[in-house]
Amino acid sequence: MSKSEQVQNILAGASVLPPDQRAAYLDAACGKDVALRAEVASLLRSLDEAGSFLSAPTADASEARTANSSAATVDELSREHAGQMIGRYKLLQPIGEGGFGSVWMAEQREPVKRLVALKIIKLGMDTRQVVARFEQERQALAMMDHPNIARVLDAGATEVGRPYFVMDLVKGDPIATYCDKNNLSIEDRLNLFRQVCEAVQHAHTKGIIHRDIKPSNVLVSTQDGKPSAKVIDFGIAKATQNNLTDKTFYTEYQQLIGTPEYMSPEQAEGSLDIDTRTDVYSLGVMLYQLLTGSTPFDGKELRSAAYGEIQRIIREVDPPKPSTRISESADTIASVAAKRQTEPKRLGAFVRGELDWIVMKAMEKDRSRRYETANGLAMDIQRFLSGEAVVAAPVSRAYQLRKFIRRNKGTVTAAVLIATAILVGAAASTAGFIHARRQRDVAIAAETRARSESERATTAEAKAVAEAQSATTISDFLASMLGGVGPEVALGRDTALLRSILEKTEDRVGKELADQPLVAGRMLRIVADVYNQLAAIDKADANARRALELIKSAPGDNRVEIARATHDLGTALESQGKYTEAKAKFEEAFDLYVAAGAGESGNAVSALSAIGGVLFRTRNFSGAETSFRKVLDARRRLANNEDSANLASSLDRLAVLLSYGKNEYAESETLQREALAMRRRLYGELHPEVALGLSNLAANLGSQGRFDDAIEFNKQSIDQHRKLFGERHPRTAQAMASYAKNLDRSGRPAEAIAMRRLVVEINIESVGAGHRETLDSRFNLGWAMDAAKDYAGAEEQYRAMLEWARINYKSPDHRTAGVIMLVAATVNNQGRHADAEALYREALELFILTRPTGHSSIAEARNALADCLVTQNRPAEAEPLLLAVERDSRLENVPPPDRAAAATRLASFYTDWDKAEPARGYDAKATEWKMKSETTQPATKDQIPGK
């Protein structure tokens, strides 16, 4: 035994002895060891003087005092007995035993003789703190004066140090018991409940929050033939410092204190910020019980739940609505109904609807959605009783999603949640949210396991899959977050942090899951998906590739998984505008599905749809249409008359194709409306798919000339996009682009231009100046400005496009030439003819190099150059150009009208030249060409005069 241990033991022994016995004890224990004795004595002194130093590390101060005794606890030693005096109160008889302690009927002698209730709080609370806190409230409590509130009269501490409270002695039964005993009808219960609400409201106006509202704290007695409720224990919960997180749920070692069934989510969290709405929640629970006969969360289940589970349940699980509970409790329903003077069916019907809403509104997890005041609750009940409309509104699906996100967002930032899900037990969490997100993977993993070669991989996978069965909260949240709505929405656009976490994840997956390539691959697929939603396309690509590699390298037959990863890579490529490669990947994926025997599966159909998408983008409309119609048929079959997200999606895609590619608007509109309605049913109002659907419908209507309707939809779409993705997201930009188009068409060009400017800005910011999307938007803006005669503006846009083209298209390229033409035209229109001329020449050269002879773009360039020269008074230089155009127009591959046009052009050219320089014979030529233009026939090769 070390010196220190010796000291400790002796100290422990001495400290429980009364002072007069200590000296002897020390003598005996220390013997001749003077130093030892001095040390212990010094520590003893220090201990005596310590006072409150370290006296209450948790709220169980008394444990320090019960240092040595394991047999008799101080608790037992100080049990109260009848006849005992506590303060100036004499204990008469015990009334009840609760979680906090015991309640006695007592007699007050001074200053006035009366009976009171005395509640003694069990040892285990720091008396000083309790009494001190109660003192703080005392003033406010004293000012409470309400017929339905039992007053707290006094407070103190017993000799042993137990706090007690003195209250009005209230006779009566707990409210739930009373109602059942007397078979009160629902109306009667509601009226009684209103009394309770009014009492609570009164207290709230005095600044007192009860914090522990439950049936046993509401005592009801019959007064003058009518039930009268009294709420007791105001101020006590706060004073006794509900240390809820450890005390309440810690069932293993202490009796359960506190009542989790009635506890509000914020209390369950141990939040420091409790307000009146906490009481509203508890009132809601009470109302629930009065209506249905049971609490929303089963008390037994709660109490037996695992450590920490209780909080989760209260915070996150949605209990069944009262009417649902009524219909579910088949065995007890008869008695429950009988106690409410009604029959089971009628009870359910009565409660369903408005009473449901009222109860659920009071019990909202998010307290800003509850009734603000107990009064609000009471009034809604009043409205219900008198047949008026209630304020509580039904909960819609979209709201639920938002609520879920907000609920979890507030507590810990989602970024941290992801981090922890990823960092803590990587395999388990991974399987966890993959399970939630792609349930098929589990089945596939099972198959894989059966055929797996590597034992170790199998065991690890099996373990991960088993863990997946009990997907954790974090995983569920992540799944729902990643499932439908983009991360920016859930995270409030905290993308910088999210990105850094994703990066760390990539890292860790590489290190920690090196031996589990399948799991690692799945992980990275999700990471890639998140990047995609963040519009970080390079990262998405890198991760999709890596994921595919990993999954390919995993042992066993993972063809379907590989196919999915291949599909993902295709998506990443498509986002980068690499359409050919993307299509190849999609086709590869489809083939893999077929090879794996999953050719009819939803996955395969998706691949088919993706192929169609790429065909569409590359303007192969008939190919795309074939694909999309196949996909639509397949999905209708799979959906089997139910709403399906995929079906809606294919309706949409076909519709867009028909409008855009083939201008068939009527069928398209029908399809789009069907898709939109389906999505609204599936997702509620606020959802990316719905937002997109609105945009597409707007585009369609715009094409049909129904501008007012179209613009209405455009506005809705933009509004939704803003809410979902933010102001500066490419998808919002797309919605704006659609709007701009309709503005243009309906004759509001200025607004259209303003909108298109914004679109360009957003695209540059989000997908970068080099993305096709940005280019497209620049083009649209330039075009619009051109039309509005803002040539300088148009020039700016076209030049930016040209810059891009020069970098990205290997010279010579006709596309670059095309852009040069655009720039040239705007330059020309601004009167800078010399500059325009240079540009036209360049374009012409490029066209000649890259286009077949006779191609319209060569002609166009020549014509434009010619015009430009004429404007600069150099018709002699223009002449050969126009003649060349005419000559080429007689080639076989040129449409006849072009030839006539070329001739007409020459005619008017010579006419103008004649006016400028008369008597040179130009008028004759003009006439000649005029005649030719009227009788033009396409030339054969033999008739072409020598070049």
């Binding site: 400790q8 201990l47 240092a67 141990g270």
Partner: protein
């Protein structure tokens, strides 16, 4: 250390920065507040952090030891940071101090103390206690900083309740003496 325990240590090490952050944030709510009824509880903080970060799976007590040790360490660090920050904020010296020193019952009280020097003194006293009796210091770590009860501490440390009480009594006496001696010197 066997594999399981070391695995958990690794987990705790990974967790520590997150735990620290979480505790810091929660601590900021409570520590800096001058609200009359702030009921900061070390236990609540630590349990809250633990629950949020690890989830609600049942984990045997012995494995939580590492977490709690980490959390307690983090708590301690927070307090020290807090003290240093307070000291910085105060211009000039700290003469004329209130008479009631070494009066803090719990970590919340310590955190709310007027004299940030108290925190520093306590911390250095605790370090000296570590030399004197490592076990006693651990009990302080668990009970005071992490807010565990006697039973919880006993389970975590793998000893009996009686032992925990003995160590706690000793620690309390020792620390009080150490802090008083320090105060008297200054």
């Amino acid at each position: 250390m066997n594999a399981a325990a070391s695995g958990d240590k690794a987990a705790a090490d990974r967790l520590l920065p997150l735990v620290y952050e979480q505790l810091r944030k929660a601590a900021q709510l409570g520590l800096v507040g001058e609200r009359a009824d702030h009921t900061l509880s070390a236990t609540a903080l630590v349990h809250e952090a633990y629950l949020k970060l690890v989830g609600s799976r049942e984990i045997p007590w012995a494995n939580r030891a590492h977490f709690y040790a980490a959390a307690a360490e983090a708590m301690r660090q927070i307090l020290l940071d807090h003290a240093k920050a307070r000291a910085r904020d105060k211009r000039g010296g700290t003469q004329g101090q209130p008479m009631a020193w070494a009066n803090f019952a719990s970590v919340a009280d310590l955190a709310a103390t007027e004299d940030s020097q108290e925190i520093v003194s306590f911390d250095s006293a605790l370090r000296r206690l570590e030399d004197e009796s490592a076990d006693a210091a651990r009990v302080v770590q668990f009970r005071f900083y992490a807010g565990l009860s006697v039973e919880q501490t006993a389970l975590t440390m793998g000893v009996s309740d009686r032992t925990v009480n003995r160590l706690w009594t000793f620690a309390r006496a020792w620390l009080h003496r150490a802090v008083r001696e320090r105060e008297q010197k200054d």
